[in-house]
Symmetry: C2
Subunit: 146 residues, 2 copies
DNA sequence: AAAGATTGATACCTCAATCTTT
DNA sequence: AAAGATTGAGGTATCAATCTTT
């Protein structure tokens, strides 16, 4: 007869490892295709469908990146002309970031590779019921409750 | 009526985010207590109960770290005298790493903080059934199948 | 003073190249 | 040549300090 406490740590460890294995497989697939890492896509995809761009602090919340990291990641993206920054008219302290044409093109190039890697390292192993259960659990962890 | 494909990407995203939120909370708790990061604990805990130490390539497999990273992480751990390295008698190319007394002591200090953080950021949100379901899913992702 | 964002210093990761032993 | 491990260079993350505007 197993208890909650007996199961907890093994599940935590399996959670960490399964994440690591899946993400590494995705990063590997992108790299093998000569494409930039996952973090770049995360930022670009948030800017998609935001023609006016987003404030950096808004991006911060959405991509779960600290403001220091975001600032430097945007530097790199801007350098390769995948995004552009502009001074914010309403607030002199802030700036907005928005997708360039090249940024949109890169996303279009990355998506099929990314999607295929999600299938191979994640979806392939799971049933429809698994997907539903995992959704329920991850939503709880993201504390929609508190 | 929802399909597998409709659910897949949102679940993938939720999986990434829930991991990020939980791990960041744990890292924060360790740091706030003036303790080293999770990665250090991962290595130390694998060495616990291995009085003769482990070969580095064995550690590699267990902690999901590349050999380059492990080599340098062991440098740092050795520098603070948390582990010690020794030449491997059976194989002149290799070396073994083993816990020092100070390493064991640090683990003892880290564990309550780590355990509490797992409770707060992870276990607290989940039921016994959730734990079982997550175990089943993560095991599949670690492809015990292939 | 507080919020938005950047910068400098330092730690850490990643790749390719290297060294030694098998 | 192949396996175990280290090293140097470059890229990325993290913290504290800073600058500007509110």
């Amino acid at each position: 007869m197993s208890t909650f406490d007996e199961q907890l740590i093994p599940v935590w460890v399996a959670f960490l490892r399964s994440h690591s294995v899946a993400v590494e497989a995705v990063e590997r697939a992108l790299k093998d295709a000569g494409l930039p890492p996952l973090g770049w896509y995360d930022v670009l995809v948030e800017l998609l469908g935001q023609p006016g761009g987003l404030r950096q602090f808004e991006l911060c919340d959405r991509v779960l990146l600290s403001k220091h990291n975001l600032s430097r990641l945007l530097d790199r993206l801007e350098q390769r002309e995948l995004i552009q920054r502009a001074a914010c008219p309403q607030d002199g302290r802030g700036s907005t970031a928005s997708l360039t044409v090249a940024g949109k093109a890169l996303m279009k190039q990355m998506w099929p590779v990314y999607r295929q890697a999600i299938d191979d390292s994640f979806a392939r192993h799971l049933t429809f019921r698994d997907i539903g259960a995992l959704r329920r659990i991850t939503d709880k962890l993201l504390h929609e409750g508190d």
